[in-house]
Amino acid sequence: MSLDKPYLDVPGTIIFDAEQSRKGYHLNQFCMSLMKAENRKRFKADERAYLDEWPMTEEQKQGVLTRDLNRCMKAGGNIYFLAKIGATDGLSFQQMAGSMTGMTEEEYRNMMIGGGRSVEGNRYIGEDGDAQAQNQPQGSANKKVQK
């Protein structure tokens, strides 16, 4: 008998459940290791070599190397763990959260000052809110990178 997972139809969201946690164990524990200053230093000196010390999948390692937090989340990462990578890079939580939307830092910050993202159209997959798959990426962060 399968488990009831009513959260699978929430758009733009990955709930860190037991299945994700199992998948992401080594990725998240790698993140925990960055809470020690000497590990942050070693990671920064040679990211690939440091990651290779962990039994992570190549997909997880690529997610970390490219700082693609959405990719890390899909591979079992949890945001509170992934935040240690952002802290190592000197990023705020707002910068990290914003990076997952495709918005620039300024665009995301302005959205928050304006009252945040509306829940309208973003409750169920299949509606037409700004967090829905068909409306990605939001903002112009990726456009700037390509310039």
Binding site: V10, T13, G98, I113
Partner: protein, 289 residues
Amino acid sequence: MARITASVYTSHVPAIGAALDLGKDKEPYWVPLFKGYEYSKQWMKDNKPDVIFLVYNDHATAFSLDMIPTFAIGTAAEYQPADEGYGARPVPKVVGHPELASHIAQSVIQQDFDLTIVNKMDVDHGLTVPLSLMCGQPPADQFEWPCPVIPFAVNVVQYPVPSGQRCFNLGQAIRKAVESYDEDLNVHIWGTGGMSHQLQGPRAGLINAEWDNAFLDKLIADPKAAAAIPHIDYVREAGSEGIELVMWLIARGAMGDVAGRADGVNLKHRFFHVPASNTAVGHLILENK
């Protein structure tokens, strides 16, 4: 006899701690937020508790994926503010109350709640930001929090987190436990975290002020209805991290009206503000009638 006289509810956004620690609290972005806690700081001075029972969640700080306790009570003599990756917050160490904490652990476990007992851990922003908001930054010549604190950590990181109903029932068990402690102690219970926020994915930045305010209304006047809110409603309406609000139900369940002693509670203070970083900030002070 020890007794719970009041409950406090507040968000525990890390950026609030950073704003205070870096002296940014007078910047226009932060002024309205801190204004909402001016009453609270005075109230804390006028109603100083002997002990704070502080319900919060650890954010992958003391608990990694090696161990994930659903409910963990701190019975240590003291706790250090954690280095969460930016260096530890420059706030005082947290002094515990091992005797009352151990008493509560024993009593609550005998009421069928399986607590994890923790004698060694660091505490993160989930615990220290509410203290900063309610007590202000302690001066250098008296660098301490106003009273001992019992940390009570709830897993809201890995799904499934405990249900609102279970949290509400646990609050009632904690009240009974406190009242079976012989020493005369004035105890406050705090519920922290929330309100609406989502820190992940393309839906990051979700805020639902209407839902948040309806939750505050319910928590004050009809806590049984608030306790009945299922997980999925928090996730869908208040964002994936909005689920932290179940912790507020532990504090609410410990109030006297829930035990049938009074008709409701006295609402001393209510505040709501958007945004603090990614989050809607909510705050209540409730006293027993």
